[in-house]
């Protein structure tokens, strides 16, 4: 018999608050952190809005750590599992590659340029000359997990999942797998994204994925792309009973396209069905959707939900925190996980900020304006990634 996995503590550091309760209260009120980018001059960029965390300056040594550490501390303290031996505590973090500050990148590139091209030997020398400006923590995805392990003195499994927009959800799934398998007794897990910088704003702009209007409004018929966000969401999981159980997980690949979801939502459908089957459930009361606010993704996810829940879909309340917090990339799935846990633990179903005129092609029982309070026995959380990876998780009220 597999070991059950419970949610013992959560923490978050977002553009709406320095803790999960602060963030949750703002989300429940329908607040949005999306605003014009102020941390650098974004004039002329394809999108100039983001849900940035202004209180941590862009020049901080590693903004990912500035977000992840307080979120992890909050989750850790809430869990109260300090007596667990260090060897039995694992750390599982969803993170992508960090970046040095933009001025450093510019200096490197200018020092390396020759004849309108790039001289790699000059680049190597320039990189070495600026070693102190390129601290390991700024470029290695694994730096966050290693730092958290050191901070909390853990000596168990330590893994970094780099699965783009599904990284945080995939890290939680990996933590659950490790707990179920008995490889550890406590898992600190979640995701962090610190991508509101010129390079990523340019990169996602090049893809045409960002909202030109600068508004994140998942499932709204006026939606025109996602808005970048940043932050961290962490959870402490263990086999010690708590109010919320992580009952089921599912992972699939679309095997379709490097950025676009399969039009029939096949990969997403399979991930949700696997998670429900793993949980032994046919339905849930709440779905915390991936809901990015891009025209195609939201429509495909809505169709996938219809395929999974059929006639029951009318009773399933659906929302996405990306309307308020933007798309936090590697943190996104973990933030959705916290929203799902909140629904199960307290019956607070958070709204989709920015959603005012639902798209008829996304015919769902949306939560708009403010949070609704209801009894929630189970919630489904979705996280889908560039590259076609799909993660779904089922959270449930513990028996």
């Amino acid at each position: 018999m597999r070991r059950p996995v419970f949610v013992n503590g959560v923490g978050a550091f977002t553009a709406l608050g320095a803790t999960w309760p602060q963030t949750c209260a703002a989300l429940a009120d329908g607040a949005s952190a999306v605003q014009p980018v102020r941390v650098f001059d974004a004039t002329g960029f394809p999108s100039s809005h983001a849900a940035a965390i202004d209180r941590v300056p862009p020049g901080a040594p590693d903004r990912r750590l500035s977000f992840a550490l307080p979120a992890a501390r909050e989750a850790w303290d809430a869990a109260g599992l300090k007596s667990t031996p260090a060897e039995r505590i694992g750390v599982f973090v969803g993170a992508e590659t960090g970046r040095p500050d933009f001025e450093t990148l510019v200096a490197l590139a200018r020092a390396s340029a020759r004849d309108q091209g790039l001289d790699e030997s000059r680049l190597i020398k320039a990189l070495q000359a600026r070693a102190s400006a390129l601290a390991p923590g700024e470029v290695s995805p694994a730096a966050v997990a290693f730092r958290l392990a050191a901070e909390f003195g853990t000596r168990g499994p330590c893994a970094t999942v780099s699965l783009a927009c599904a990284s945080g959800a995939a890290a939680i799934i990996e933590a659950a797998r490790s707990l179920r398998a008995g490889e550890c007794d406590v898992a600190l897990c979640g995701g962090v994204g610190a991508d509101v910088d010129p390079l990523l704003l340019a990169a996602f702009g090049l893809l045409g994925a960002l909202s030109a209007s600068g508004v994140s409004r998942p499932f709204d018929h006026r939606r025109d792309g996602f808005v970048l966000g940043e932050g961290a969401a962490m959870a402490v999981l263990s086999c010690r009973p708590a109010a919320v159980e992580l009952e089921g997980v599912g992972r699939t690949l679309d095997a379709h396209h490097i950025t676009a979801p399969a039009p029939d939502g096949g990969g997403a459908i399979r991930a949700m069905r696997l998670a429900l089957a793993d949980a032994g459930r046919h339905s849930v009361e709440v779905v915390q959707a991936h809901g990015t606010s891009t025209p195609l993704n939201d429509a495909v996810e809505a169709r996938a939900l219809q395929a999974v829940f059929g006639e029951r879909l009318g009773t399933v309340r659906v929302s996405s925190v990306k309307g308020a917090l933007g798309h936090t990339i590697a943190a996104a799935g973990a933030l959705g996980f916290l929203a799902g846990a909140e629904a199960v633990a307290r019956g607070t179903v958070l709204p989709t900020a920015g959603l005012e005129q639902p798209d008829p092609d996304c015919s769902l029982s949306h939560v708009m304006g403010r949070a609704v309070t209801m009894r929630v026995d189970a919630a489904l959380v979705n996280a889908f990634a560039f590259g076609g990876a799909n993660c779904s998780l089922v959270l449930a009220r513990a028996a």
Binding site: A142, F146, V161, D254, A255
Partner: protein
């Protein structure tokens, strides 16, 4: 591991070319890989690089390759080879895929293109960057940036749709990827899976990191490549059985690694000299061995690809009834161990 998972195929691309059969035997003979001096970009540095891949063996078509980082391209080749080798031709949407992946490594040539259009009066202007610099960039640039694309390009080309994971790796993450694949097979999440890693230590930024952190001065030879194992829960005629897979993070309890008391073959994949000594001592203290080889002497350290290249080298060298212990030590300080047995449990 209470049960064994069968290895039924493999794929690899390394300095020895595309393919895994014969790779281990070449290493035993200490045949020198076609290492070259990186005179142009890395003066005085010897490396183990993958020479040009014949077009019939390359990944995807020209358009698809434009979207790929080098690691993604190598990974897609190894993934295809493993699937073909295993005869995994049908129901590919059910096949799981786990990869250890490095930082993708975008084409650096785009950077000066952006900057040339982004400078105003001798200084960088973010406003000009937004208005003109972005437009000067190859729009495919973005597709090369995400680490998981080293998994996803191959999965898309080959139609893999099962459970999956991309673990960032400087060595150990790839062992974790294999452990995850084994767990999913044993739990019944999937009946078949591929697991491996792809990476290059030759990308200018990666190499600069390795130099900065002192690894180059301590004997690390940069390498590149990819290797993938094809796995299933049961097989009538497996190439070998996976008896144990484990990874211990830096500072973790090495004694927790499950090592056999005897191995006919020990294959080491250390990043450099200090790690070589550590792995040799570990193997000698816990396991008697008939023969030992060190793949890093000719293949260098290909980071996320180093452990799986050692796995396929061991696979190539195993004889009927033999057991192999493969130990890897990456620049992340983690140690991975994999035990293979040929000829049934």
């Amino acid at each position: 591991m209470s049960d064994a998972v069968a290895i039924v195929g493999a794929g690899a691309v390394s300095a020895y070319g595309v393919g895994w059969r014969g790779l281990g035997k070449s290493l035993v003979k200490l045949a020198v890989a076609p290492s070259v001096e990186l005179a142009a970009s890395h003066p005085g540095v010897l490396c183990s690089s993958v020479s040009e891949v014949p077009s019939r063996l390359d990944a995807g078509d020209a358009r698809a390759r434009k979207l790929m980082s080098r690691a993604a391209r190598l990974g897609a080749i190894a993934m295809r080879e493993a699937l073909v080798d295993a005869g995994f031709h049908d129901r590919r949407e059910e096949i799981g895929a786990w990869m250890g992946v490095g930082a993708s490594g975008v084409a650096m040539q785009d950077v000066p293109c952006i900057l040339a259009e982004s400078v105003r009066e001798g200084a960088l202007s973010l406003e000009k960057l937004g208005e003109r610099g972005i437009a000067a960039c190859n729009p495919l640039f973005t597709f090369q940036t995400l680490n998981n694309f080293s998994l996803c390009h191959g999965a898309i080309l080959e139609g893999l749709g099962g459970p999956n994971g991309a673990f960032f790796s400087r060595g150990a993450g790839t062992v974790t990827a294999l452990a995850e694949a084994v767990h999913s097979l044993l739990e019944g999440d999937c009946d078949r899976a591929v697991a491996g890693g792809a990476d290059t230590a030759l990308h200018p930024i990666t190499w600069a990191e390795l130099v900065r952190d002192g690894f180059a001065n301590r004997g690390l030879m940069p390498g590149e490549g990819a290797a993938v194992l094809a796995l299933c829960r049961r097989s009538e005629r497996p190439l070998a059985l996976l008896r144990s897979v484990a990874a211990v993070p830096e500072g973790g309890d090495i004694a927790s690694l499950t090592l056999p008391s005897h191995a006919d073959l020990v294959v080491l994949a250390p990043w450099g000299a200090p790690a070589r000594a550590l792995l040799s001592d570990l193997a000698a203290s816990r396991c008697s061995a008939c023969r030992t080889i060190d793949v890093s002497l000719t293949l260098g350290d290909s980071l996320a690809a180093a452990p799986p290249l050692a796995w396929v080298a061991a696979l190539d060298l195993l004889k009927s009834g033999e057991t192999a212990l493969v130990l890897s030590a990456g620049v992340d300080g983690c140690i991975g161990s994999v035990v293979l047995r040929q000829g049934g449990p």
